[in-house]
Symmetry: C2
Subunit: 96 residues, 2 copies
Amino acid sequence: MNSLGEKIRALRESKGILLRQVAAFLEIDTALISKIERGERRLTRKQVIKVANYYNVTDEELLTLWLSDKVLNTIDSDPYAMQGLNKAKTILKTLL
Amino acid sequence: MNSLGEKIRALRESKGILLRQVAAFLEIDTALISKIERGERRLTRKQVIKVANYYNVTDEELLTLWLSDKVLNTIDSDPYAMQGLNKAKTILKTLL
DNA sequence: TCTAAATTTGACACAAATTGACAAATCTTT
DNA sequence: AAAGATTTGTCAATTTGTGTCAAATTTAGA
């Protein structure tokens, strides 16, 4: 339930960048980015976009993970999570 | 984006019950259930279950709508909403 | 190993969102 | 017009989200 954190940690490590550096770029405390990568906290939408640029990946890729994490977090482990998700998808389709 | 509110309003009206009565049953203010039916506020999970019993429908039916509303609310009108939903679904499947 | 840098943890602060009550305004029915 | 039903607006209490800071722990290099 923390796809984005894992992803940006992988990106950071693959480029040999320090938490300190990402934190500076995002203008937040190092402790915070540490928590974010481990899924203890979440990025804001704007921060996700900044990070995507920083690591040279598309906004879409990271935002999709970010949204997915948010969704899974709100339906948590509700027994009807899948039904709710399907209903949401059906409704969303009609809105597009 | 307020499937549940519409549903419970329809249920209430089909049975000719007053907001006042539902509110009394749920032990909340009448104004609140009014707002809930119009999507201005949300029920808690426990209240959804109480309402389901009150109107003699299944928990599953109302909780599905409740979850769907929550999901659609959190992904709001993000341009990548559908991608996020699909990713969430994929991940959720692996967790079951 | 020793130590310095990097990361993690826990406590706290502040802001924003949520949940509810209450009073007043509006809508409906008779 | 009067009574009841519903809606609206505002305020308080609580919860949740976003961030900092200091201290503890882990990791790496000399």
